[in-house]
């Protein structure tokens, strides 16, 4: 058994030595991930896990990769993408430039899904997609744009459910069990590390997506992130959250109006 106090000590080390602050993460998930890592790497005692994190910078990298949850998909929640396609992009399309921020983009499946929507709407050329995450390892994968081929069948189904009408396989080249997404989809993607805990606003956007990231934060940290998004959104910009997340309890909510069904809010002032 790992005690809550031990977790506090470990997180404190990670903050003091490396500057990553996990104090306001959802404790239940964090604890589960730490217990999982402890078992995976077969530590004889918690003290040894703590020692390894304190002394080996390479192990810290693994620690970050394993305790954050990077699971993602292309066109996850097709109905969400359908609303982007039919309601949001036509509005954004009237602007001279479109700036989109994917905060907590993980390995990029969501960013590439967006690039496909923009390309199909003939808007990709005047768009910029900022893909950020705190974990540099996942960003390497965004840069490569290569995903497991065996996922493509499901992504193709979700793409069609989102209103896509093309043959999804025209968007990638299959090779040795891997699918390499077309280069032109990557051209407008800008990749950078950004930590929602400690970094500040860096641009003004027309659309910010932060889906299934806030579930890993406690309410105080959720509030910090939502304020950061509020500062980074232009008036009439859109904020999209995961299907079980909300800004209902946030102080920023008074300035936002939710679209009918999906977790998309429009900034009204």
């Amino acid at each position: 058994m790992i005690e809550d106090e031990e977790i506090d000590l470990l997180l404190n080390d990670v903050f003091e030595i490396y500057g990553y602050d996990f104090a306001n993460y959802s404790r239940a998930s964090l604890k589960r991930r730490i217990i999982r890592l402890f078992a995976l790497d077969k530590f004889p005692s918690f003290a040894e896990l703590r020692y390894r994190v304190r002394t080996e910078e390479d192990y810290l990298k693994r620690f970050i990769e394993e305790i954050t949850v990077n699971v993602t998909e292309m066109f996850r929640d097709p109905s969400f993408y359908k609303v982007l396609r039919t309601e949001i992009l036509p509005v954004l399309g009237t602007k001279p430039f479109i700036r989109i921020w994917h905060a907590g983009c993980s390995t990029g499946e969501e960013v590439f899904s967006m690039a496909i929507l923009l390309q199909e709407a003939n808007l990709l050329k005047k768009s910029l997609l900022y893909a950020t995450d705190l974990n540099p390892s996942v960003l390497e994968k965004v840069r490569k744009g290569i995903f497991p081929l065996n996922q493509m069948k499901q992504y193709s189904e979700s793409y069609i459910a989102s209103g896509g009408t093309k043959d999804f396989s025209t968007y990638y080249t299959a090779n040795y069990g891997q699918a390499k997404l077309n280069e032109d989809l990557s051209e407008k993607i800008i990749i950078s590390t950004h930590n929602l805990v400690s970094d500040s606003s860096f641009n003004e956007f027309d659309l910010i997506l932060c889906r299934n990231v806030l579930i890993y934060f406690d309410k105080d940290l959720q509030e910090r992130a939502l304020k950061l998004f509020d500062e980074s959104l232009g008036v009439l910009g859109y904020l999209a959250l995961g299907s079980k997340e909300t800004l209902k309890f946030s102080t920023i909510q008074a300035r936002y109006k939710q679209l009918d069904k999906e977790k998309i809010w429009k900034k009204t002032m």
Partner: protein, 194 residues
């Protein structure tokens, strides 16, 4: 266990079910006391994701307020919470939910084990965990953790389960406190904290 002890120490009941468990809930829910004093947390394997009509359907079977969990929802006594499809539901020490999209466990998301284990950590001896019908291994490891944390564990009587494998697996591997049919399950829940 003392009769009195069973009655008053509980805060939450986590019910886990897979194939064949819906019909049990349709019998248990209408029989629940409308002045129930514990929270009920329901984790079900579901065939279709993105389908939130299950909570609507379940809410027609009880007068207790029933909702599908949103992230950070508080856990209140007398309320029924349904774990959403495609997320694991975890429980924080301040009695609220955190959702999680991490890897499937036992081929399932939601996984019964994940919620049982997380609830055991928060509620310890004030938790009842109930495992219903199913044809999956999920749930047994979670019940074990609940028991180790001092909680009370129940399996559906396999003869009454459409899919006896899941409760039978728990019975074969653990010291189950009670083995009950659906009528006895509702009676048991109604007796808590009254």
């Amino acid at each position: 266990m003392e009769e009195n002890d069973v009655k008053n120490r509980f805060k939450a009941v986590v019910i886990g079910g897979s194939a064949g468990s819906l019909s049990v809930l349709f019998e248990v829910f209408p029989a629940l006391n409308p002045r129930l004093n514990v929270a009920i947390i329901l984790v079900l394997h579901r065939k279709y994701s993105g389908d939130s009509s299950l909570s609507d359907l379940l809410s027609t079977k009880t007068s207790l307020p029933t909702k599908e969990i949103d992230d950070k929802d508080p856990i209140l006594p007398g309320h029924i919470y349904l774990a959403p499809a495609d997320y694991h539901s975890l429980i924080e020490k301040n009695y609220s939910f955190s959702l999680d999209v991490s890897e499937k466990i036992n081929f399932s998301r939601p996984s019964l084990d994940v919620t049982f284990e997380s609830a055991a950590d928060t509620f310890g001896p004030s938790l009842v965990a109930i495992l219903l019908s199913g044809s999956n291994d999920d749930g047994t490891a979670g019940l074990k953790t609940v028991k180790e944390a001092g909680g009370f564990i129940i399996a559906q009587k396999p003869e009454t389960a459409q899919m006896p494998y899941m409760p039978q697996n728990a019975i074969n591997n653990l010291e189950i406190d009670l083995i009950l049919d659906s009528k006895e399950i509702s009676d048991f829940i109604n007796m808590l904290n009254q």
